[in-house]
Amino acid sequence: MIQLFNVSKTYEGEVKVEALRDINLHIKRGEFVFLVGPSGAGKSTLTRLMIREELPSKGQILVDNRSLLRMKEREVPYFRRKIGFIFQDFRLLMERTVYENVAFAMEAIEAPSSVVRERVPAVLELVGLKDKLTAYPHQLSGGQQQRVCIARAIVNNPLLIIADEPTGNLDPDTSWEIMNLLLAINKRGTTIVTATHDKEMVDRIKRRVIALQNGRIVRDEERGGYQA
C-alpha cells in the first residue's frame, strides 16, 4: 500500500532542518500502523509525504503502486480521493451541520446528490451519530466531533486513512471509543496509519509500531508497544 525507499526530507531555510533521513518503509494493505515518537521526530512530515502534501528531497514513495514523485499536479486530487484524513483538531466547518460537514466531502469529489443523500446518513449511523444530523459542531462533545471527522474520512470509501493524533484532545474513555471505531474500520479492509502520543492506547492495542527519532526509524515492530 505504502512504500518508501531511501526517503529524506530537508527543509531549506536559514537553518537547515533534516526532518527525515533515509527512511525505508513498507506498509501492506489492510495494516493498522502506529507512528510514535517525540514531537519533532518527523511523524507529521512522514504523513504529509504520504498524502503528497509535500515531496521528498530524496528517495521514492509509492502509494497504491503509484509513484508520488512522478504524479502530475492535476492527478493529485484524484489520488487524494483514495485517502481519508483525521485530525487532532477535527477541522470541521463550524457554520455547517454534521450532515453538511460529511456531505461536503462527497460534494467535493462531485458525487451525484442522490448518492450523497443516501450515503451520508448511513455513514453517520455507522459512527453512532444518526440522531445528530442537524446539530452544529459546537453543540457536540469532542468525541462526537471526532466521530464526524471519521465519518467524513470514510464517506468516500478510502483505501487508506491517515490519522494525525486522533485522540490527542480527548479523554481516555472517549479515546478508547474512537480507537475502537478505527479498529472496526480497519477490519473492513481499510489501511490505517495513526500518528500518536497515546502510550496507553498503543500498548493496549498491540499493533505494528513504527518509532521515529530525529528523522530516523529507530524501531519497527509487529504487535509492539509504545516503548521498546
Binding site: I51, R74, R91, A108, P112
Partner: protein, 295 residues
C-alpha cells in the same frame, strides 16, 4: 462537470454573496456605475455620429458662376460638373430662382427685384451633392478650378469639426471607461478575496478530500460573474429609463435635433453592457483566485 456539482457551486456562490452582503453590493454598484458611464459615453458617440451623418447628407456645394457667363454656356457646364469624380447630383439654379429663394427668406411680401431697380445682381448657380461627405472639400476644390466659376461655398469645416468631436469623445470615453472598469475589476477582486479568506478552511479541506481545482474555483467565478451581471442589469435599467425619457423630451421640445432611436442599435449596446459586466466580474474573480487561491 456534473449537474449536481454545478448545483453545489451555485449554492456556494449565493451563500458567499449573502455572507459578504455589503461588499457584494458595493461591487455591484461599482460595476453599475462604470457600465452606466460606458453606456452614456457610448450613446453620446452614437448620437454624435448620427448627427454627423444627418448633417453630412444635407451638405452640398454651391458653385457661383461669373456674372458674364451666357445662359447657354452656363447650362452646358452641367455635363462637365457631372463628370467630376465623387459628384452624385448636379442642380442648376438660375439667378431668377435664386432671387425667388432670397425673397422667400425675407418674407412673402417683399419685391426685391423692384427694390433693386429691376436689376438682378445674383449670379447663376450650380448646387452639387457628393456621393460621400469627405469628398466635399475635394470636389469643391475641383469645381473652383473651372474658369467660369466665380466662387465655391460649402459648410467649410463643419463636417470636419463634427467628426473630430466624435473622435475626441471616443478617445476620452475609452480612457474614462478603462479607468472606471479597472476600479470595478479591483473591487470585485477584493470582494472575491474576502470570500476566499472566509472560506479558506473549507478550501483546505476540499483540497484534502480530493476536490479538483476547477471544482474549487467555480463558486468564486460564479460569484464574480453574478456581481458583474447584476451591476449590468442595474446600469442597463437606469440607462434605458433615462434615454427613453430624453428621447421623449427632445421630440417634444427641440424636435429639429436628430437623436438616435434605432431599437436594434440600442439593444446591441445593452447586450454589450451585459457581456462586459459579466466579463468584468469573471476577470475580478480570476485575479483574486490567481493571487490568493494557490490551487
Amino acid at each position: 462537470m456534473r449537474l449536481s456539482s454545478l448545483q453545489y457551486a451555485v449554492r456556494d456562490a449565493f451563500r458567499s454573496l449573502k455572507r459578504n452582503k455589503v461588499m457584494s453590493m458595493a461591487s455591484m454598484a461599482t460595476v453599475a456605475i462604470s457600465l452606466l458611464i460606458l453606456g452614456c459615453a457610448w450613446l453620446l458617440v452614437l448620437n454624435t455620429q448620427y448627427l454627423a451623418t444627418t448633417m453630412e447628407s444635407e451638405l452640398e456645394i454651391n458653385a457661383y458662376l461669373q456674372l458674364d457667363v451666357p445662359r447657354d454656356k452656363a447650362l452646358a457646364m452641367k455635363k462637365q460638373l457631372e463628370s467630376l469624380t465623387g459628384v452624385a447630383q448636379v442642380t442648376f439654379v438660375p439667378k431668377e430662382e435664386g432671387l425667388k429663394l432670397l425673397e422667400e427668406r425675407f418674407g412673402k411680401d417683399t419685391d426685391l427685384l423692384k427694390a433693386l431697380g429691376g436689376n438682378n445682381p445674383l449670379p447663376d448657380m450650380y448646387r452639387l451633392k457628393t456621393k460621400e461627405a469627405p469628398q466635399v472639400p475635394l470636389v469643391a476644390e475641383e469645381v473652383a478650378k473651372i474658369q467660369e466659376i466665380e466662387k465655391v461655398r460649402y459648410g467649410q469645416g463643419m463636417v470636419e469639426k463634427l467628426l473630430a468631436l466624435t473622435n475626441w469623445l471616443r478617445s476620452v470615453g475609452v480612457v474614462v471607461i478603462i479607468a472606471v472598469g479597472l476600479a470595478a475589476v479591483f473591487l470585485i477582486a477584493t470582494t472575491i478575496r474576502l470570500t476566499v479568506f472566509a472560506r479558506r478552511r473549507e478550501i483546505g479541506i476540499m483540497k484534502l478530500v480530493g476536490a479538483t481545482n476547477w471544482y474549487i474555483r467555480w463558486p468564486f467565478f460564479l460569484e464574480g460573474m453574478f456581481i458583474g451581471l447584476t451591476g449590468a442589469l442595474i446600469a442597463v435599467g437606469t440607462l434605458h429609463f433615462f434615454y427613453s425619457e430624453l428621447v421623449k423630451n427632445i421630440a417634444l421640445t427641440i424636435n429639429f435635433l436628430p437623436i438616435m432611436t434605432d431599437k436594434a442599435m440600442l439593444y446591441e449596446v445593452y447586450q454589450y453592457l451585459f457581456i462586459i459586466g459579466t466579463a468584468l466580474g469573471a476577470m475580478g474573480s480570476a485575479i483574486s483566485l490567481h493571487r490568493f487561491l494557490k490551487v
